[in-house]
């Protein structure tokens, strides 16, 4: 697999949300608006790239029996850094995402890539994998957030396109709406993929 494929696989072929179905907790939890999805996706991308980088660099020094705790410590450190930086410099977004930032630690996408990819591949491939997967995750979250926001609040990135007091499908900004919207999106993506094949 060349590096370009390695990068682009995260968007459609192995999209973490639509195909691998990894990290569903933040996917369903924060995507009530497009901007939340985007913010969460970028925060996760940063953690994913950094943890993939570090894991691929130290993989030979870590005894295999303690590799999972070691990976978790590495991931948790980067998550805490993201949290502190975001609270200091992006307080608005921090208030919105709140609880979900520390939960990036237990996002199985990140540990999954560390274990399945970064611990077996070299530094450059791991960085590219992290970037591709992270941006694919961001893309999926933003897409899901946009769909839910459009249907649920009648806005896109907080810009309203329906008349005031219009009735919107409130269901879509609530948890059941997340499942429904995700289900339809996955069906749609699957159809796209099968057409190509």
């Amino acid at each position: 697999m060349n590096q370009l494929q390695n990068f682009t696989k995260g968007f459609l072929k192995e999209n973490p949300v639509f195909v691998l179905l990894l990290g569903m907790c933040p996917v369903l939890g924060v995507t009530s608006s497009a901007i939340n999805g985007l913010g969460m996706g970028l925060a996760t991308t940063f953690v994913l790239v950094m943890s993939n980088t570090v894991v691929s660099l130290v993989k030979k020094q870590i005894p295999s029996k303690v590799r999972i705790p070691s990976f978790i410590v590495i991931i948790a450190s980067f998550v805490t850094i993201v949290e502190m930086v975001m609270e200091g410099f992006l307080p608005e977004l921090y208030n919105q995402l709140g609880l979900f930032i520390p939960l990036i630690v237990v996002n199985c996408l990140i540990l999954g890539r560390a274990e399945a990819f970064a611990s077996k591949n070299n530094f450059i491939s791991s960085v590219i994998d992290g970037l591709g997967m992270g941006l694919g995750f961001t893309f999926a979250l933003t897409l899901l957030g946009t769909v839910r926001e459009m249907l649920g609040s009648g806005t896109i990135f907080n810009v309203s396109f329906v008349p005031e007091n219009a009735q919107t499908f409130l269901l879509f900004v609530m948890p059941p709406g997340a499942f429904i919207a995700l289900g339809f999106l996955i069906a749609f993506i699957n159809r796209l993929k099968h057409k190509r094949a």
Binding site: K60, I62, P63, S64, K65, S70, V73, F89, M174
Partner: protein
């Protein structure tokens, strides 16, 4: 996995110790870098809210801050006084209700000296997006402006009050009203203390 090291007690211990040490130092360093901006962000949020809910003032209300203990909550709320050329023009109360749909609802309420509500700003809420979060929007909040709680019953209509609840978010609206009532109670207490003369000076210093 062949490339990974064999595990022995010694190398497992050293690996974990080294990793935790490095991440500990890294976090301490980042913490030092971000602690100032974090405090500043929280302070400026408070200041913005004060400017929003109080009439024009020329002192720094953050300096006049004092806490009032509320028994019902087992926690204290903060009170700020605003002065314009020495005259008291408003009181802001930072009150909250633990009974939101998911977590605390924290609001800043500005009262005029006669107890009339000047404006309200929502500081913190984690209500359902699109439903409870409408409490931050003008449509809901503006109904309280210029109302005096003396003749405005701060309960949702369902409970026999005069507050139009947010559609499909009665619990959130109730929590908002609870916080508002608490703010008013605290404000009335502090205003009584004011008319009781000298006590404010002692409190502010």
């Amino acid at each position: 996995m062949a490339q990974q090291k064999e595990s022995s007690l010694f190398n497992m211990l050293t690996t974990l110790v080294v990793i935790t040490l490095i991440s500990g130092f890294a976090l301490a360093y980042v913490n030092q870098l971000t602690i100032k901006p974090i405090q500043q962000a929280q302070l400026s949020k408070k200041k913005d809210a004060l400017v929003e809910v109080l009439p024009e003032f020329d002192n720094n209300p953050v300096d006049t801050r004092y806490a009032v203990f509320v028994k019902a909550l087992g926690d204290s709320v903060e009170v700020y006084k605003a002065y314009q050329s020495g005259e008291l023009v408003g009181t802001a109360v930072n009150a909250f209700s633990p009974d939101g749909y998911s977590g605390d609802v924290r609001i800043m309420v500005g009262f005029l000296p006669d107890g009339t509500i000047h404006a309200i700003s929502v500081l913190e809420q984690t209500e359902t997006p699109g439903l409870g979060t409408k409490m931050t929007e003008a449509e809901f909040i503006d109904q309280f402006a210029d109302k005096n709680p003396k003749d405005f019953k701060m309960q949702v209509v369902k409970d026999g009050g005069q507050v139009d609840a947010i559609t499909a978010a009665t619990i959130s609206s109730r929590a908002f009203c609870d916080a508002l009532q608490m703010a008013y109670a605290v404000c009335v207490d502090s205003c009584d203390a004011n008319t009781g003369a000298t006590s404010t000076d002692e409190k502010t210093h």
